[in-house]
Amino acid sequence: MEQDFYEITNDPLDVGEIARRIILPECGATVTLDGYVRKFTKGRETEHLVYEAYEPMALKEMEKLIQRAQENFEITNIGIVHRIGRLEIGETSVVISVASPHRRAAFEACEWLIKELKSTVPIWKKEVYADGEVWVEGEA
């Protein structure tokens, strides 16, 4: 856990910096998910997004996620950074990076982490179109 990190920020995310922040001598692979703003969702054109977080709770939930991943996968360290505020098309909203001695566990853990983050961490996304906006509701 000392090597893990989780953050919420208003600033642009640098995928490479997050992926390479912690590389330990026993590791050989890092799998990174870079999630960013898609222009078209179900044929509708997004103008931009706004993310909002219940920040102290979101950080607690991220910490729990990391603990569960550390218990369930043979991995070494995890970094999760979520951006909030206004994001333009193509800008990164979330980066999850998992390093491990062997790649299989890193792929599994990274995919598990993004799926869990999307259902447990209190962050919401508002899609803004040319003609309106809507808070996206997850699948609880």
Partner: protein, 83 residues
């Protein structure tokens, strides 16, 4: 006895508030407070099945039967959609 209730995203838009203070009885559990919030902010239930809203107490998801204390921080919000 007073508690703070926070709203986010859709629930902040519906209540037109980001937070509110509500007065509750001494022996209230989470489910009672939730009903009180729905009574005070009927726009929440006009737009949402009560079951689709999530509720937290002191930044932990609530199961509904926790005892509420003076000064607790509650929050009510829709299913999360980050990532």
């Amino acid at each position: 006895m007073k508690v703070k209730v926070l709203f986010f995203g859709a629930t902040a838009d519906l209540t037109r508030k980001r937070q509110a203070e509500i007065e509750i009885t001494e022996d209230a559990v989470a489910a009672n407070v939730l009903e009180q919030i729905f009574a005070e902010f009927p726009s929440l239930v006009k737009h949402h099945d009560k079951k689709s809203l999530l509720f937290s107490i002191n930044q932990e998801y609530s199961s509904g039967d926790e005892k509420i204390k003076e000064g607790d921080e509650l929050a009510i919000f829709t299913a999360v959609s980050g990532g």
